[in-house]
Symmetry: C2
């Protein structure tokens, strides 16, 4: 997402030859890159245009303004992440959750800019449009884990536990991008072990979780 | 913080009699209350002025603009929380962490508006001023737990684990304000048990944590 698309013949990008969709994606990629490195308020439409080799007027033409561009960029990052999680949401227990986590970190690694921009938020309110985008990704993770556990309606303890674990994953992802002092596979292993441990804690506080773990002593 | 101060004689608030500090606090309290219930972009200076029984000009006089008022309101909420955590940062093991957690939830409960506004963020960028405020509270929690563990420099596994646990606490706090379907003491107990469990997981991945827990088999 950070690499700008080349024209078909690999030559110096010819603006007019780019299709509408491709030009839009190019602007979004440039915006995500900039928004993740700087405070969103310090990124101007001119910066995005310059970075994408486009005119200021073109950015306004596609997005209307900075707030709209910002929301579009974060939505694009979130869609990419949700696509990955959706692609494998089809039963198989904790192994599937581990695969989901691995896809999540594929995304963190390949689209560091988008991931950081998404979770660090920006000028849109978190309770508004940006909040909805972030919540959409969280809901997808939440449902993925629940469906692997064969549960439709979690009680308060399980709901809080799973939301907490998802927060662990997000926090660990941001920390890893900042520090990169753990191997990614080690971090994924740590997070899976955290999920199992948090579910075991939940089982000591809640009958629903206890029965669930007893029915699947291996944690499925 | 949500209750507006009365004048000394308990009569209908007389604007001119309020001291500068008190008037400022009153405006901040009104702002926090509004920002936590609505998207910040849907809260106007006029709304804040009306809610505080002040003039629009006075709000501009004290804060300069909505962004400044917003940042001041969140900083006030964060200062209140940090004060509580600081007041008891003086050694005593997991009991002290449990007390810190209880003070944290005192704050969550008494200043629901400020807590939600702080963590749900708003028009300030999370990487900018608001981000610094939120990070300040997190750093305080982080140091509190580290100091209770007698550790100055955490390795990557312990750092990630404690940051993840703090994210669990924040997530559980927001979830609890939304749902209120667990007793607060039960939730605090769940979070303390989560911390112990996460440290035990960390011990299986990291020598520093393993030695720490072996030296204090009760988890201190």
């Amino acid at each position: 997402m950070s690499a700008r698309p080349q024209t078909e013949d690999g030559a110096r990008p010819a603006r007019r030859r780019l299709s509408v969709d491709r030009r839009r994606e190019e602007l979004i990629a440039a915006a995500l890159e900039l928004f993740s490195r700087r405070d969103a308020e310090d990124v101007s439409i001119d910066d995005v245009a310059a970075s994408a080799g486009a005119s200021r007027a073109l950015v306004y033409h596609y997005f209307g303004g900075k707030q709209e561009l910002y929301v579009a960029a974060l939505r694009s990052a979130a869609d990419g992440l949700q696509d990955r999680l959706q692609r494998q949401e089809r039963g198989g227990g904790s192994l599937e959750v581990a695969r989901g986590l691995s896809r999540y970190f594929d995304f963190v690694e390949e689209h560091a800019a988008g991931f950081a921009a998404l979770l660090r938020g920006g000028p849109g309110t978190r309770t508004g449009e940006i909040g909805e985008i972030v919540d959409g990704v969280r809901q997808r993770m939440f449902r993925l884990v629940l469906s692997e556990m064969g549960i439709a309606e979690p009680g308060p303890v399980l709901r809080t536990t799973l939301r907490s674990w998802i927060a662990c994953v997000e926090t660990a992802g941001l920390d890893w991008l900042d520090n990169r002092d753990m191997k990614r596979t080690d971090l994924e292993g740590l997070l899976m072990a955290q999920m199992v441990a948090l579910l075991q804690v939940a089982a000591t506080h809640d009958l629903q979780v206890k029965q669930l773990l007893e029915a699947s002593p291996t944690g499925r």
